[in-house]
Amino acid sequence: MTTSASIRLGRPGARAGSASTAVSLRGVSKSIDGRAVLSEVSVELPRGSFVSVMGANGAGKSTLLRVMSTLTGATEGEVRIFGESRGAAVRAKIGMVAHETMLYDELTALENVTLFARLHGVPGAASRARLMLEQLGVGAVAHAAVRSMSRGVAQRVALARALVHGPELLLADEVFAGLDVGSRELVEGVLTEAWGKGCTIVTCGHDVEQSLRLSERVLVLERGRLVMDEWAHRLTAGSLRERLGGRA
């Protein structure tokens, strides 16, 4: 899989302009209980970007994704997602896989995904939900309760849930954690396919090789600060690892 076709010239983030911008953060800081979790993060992601956020545990990756999802507000700075700061219209364009699956244990995979398809007003919600589950290789357990599922299976159901409405921005927090090799490739394929359809994708994780292979741009957070914003093709696994302080 190569991303060379979509490699853009110039500096990352140099392409501002609201119409083509999916995510725009300006001087975003976030404090939780008086502790700075994000500090003055500024980043501009054009529509159709595929971005990996990297950094040690506790660097603020998940918080950054939550800020981008509009689930949590910034303490300071400006957040614009497709030109808007918050609201139902923005949420309609966002799909999110968080650390927690956001699934109901007592409901089946299909019921969970269908519920969200309905909330998003997807026509033919149930059949669309079934299709997503099949694409993610969990069609066979569509009628099984989430309670009975392993972490890896539930994770893929969560991704089906996040993609069921065809979001324009997918935020995937450690979506590969707990997946075996087969499902990892499957999920990579699904993400790449969504990206190919124009979806802006922001993932975070710890796998250096995978991030470089999948994404076109890499952001590195260090104690809440954005310390690197670089095109993936300009990086090598070695140089990125070094930047991550050997912790990745």
Partner: protein
């Protein structure tokens, strides 16, 4: 999607989860009957509307708190509330959906403990069954409105369960006092239904429904 459909969808989801073996209702009904046994025996056989209404209120109060806690706990299990908050629907509708689910459970509780009280413990509501249903029904809407909101507050703040009762019981005092007085008047003193009492309950409902509907988003904001 229309607001009503969203509310029905969310309430239906909660009731389906409940039906899949959360067993809240079973627990609440058993608790309600136990309360009836203890209080009915403790207070003796004096058959009055006041006695019946008071005992039934105790079952609603305790049963309700359990329902509110359980239905909200579902949203905390795997961060499901965040999923709902990400949906492109007015967040007040999430509150209303939860409220409807709680009302359905409270209604089911009332539908069991009331006949049990009549048959086994000599609750005599025959003087004004319609007034009883109307006053209690209206009061339970207000109680569920308060309980649903504060179940979100206590669940979001990771505080322990007993806290919910400590907040919700005092807030529901106007409902309990007004409804028991109105019903005692109708059933024990043969008065006409006190419309101003009914009005107090309705105003309470409207205030708490609209206030909760509008502050719910702030309460659950992670």
């Amino acid at each position: 999607m229309s607001a009503v459909r969203v509310v029905m969808l969310l309430a239906g989801k909660d009731l389906r989860i409940e039906a899949r073996g959360r067993q809240t209702l079973g627990l609440v009904v058993v608790l309600g009957i136990l309360i009836e046994v203890v209080l009915a025996l403790g207070l003796g056989q004096a058959s009055s509307g006041l006695r019946a209404t008071a005992i039934l209120w105790v079952t609603y109060l305790f049963g309700g708190v359990l329902c509110f806690e359980k239905t909200m706990a579902v949203e905390r299990q795997h961060g499901a509330m965040a999923g709902l908050l990400l949906a492109p629907v007015d967040r007040g509708l999430i509150y209303l959906g939860k409220l409807c689910a709680n009302l359905a459970l409270l209604g089911a509780l009332a539908a069991v403990v009331t006949p049990v009280g009549i048959v086994f413990f000599g609750f005599d509501l025959s003087a004004a069954p319609g007034a009883f249903a109307a006053v209690i029904g209206l009061s339970l809407v207000g109680y569920a409105a308060v309980g649903t909101l504060f179940s979100a507050v206590t669940s979001a703040s990771r505080l322990q369960g007993g806290l919910l009762a400590m907040v919700v019981f005092p807030l529901s005092l106007p409902l309990v006092i007004t409804s028991t007085q109105v019903l005692a008047g109708v059933m024990d003193r043969g008065e006409a239904l006190d419309m101003s009492g009914l009005g107090v309950i309705a105003v309470f409902d409207v205030i708490f429904l609209t206030a909760s509907w509008s502050v719910f988003e702030l309460v659950v904001e992670p």
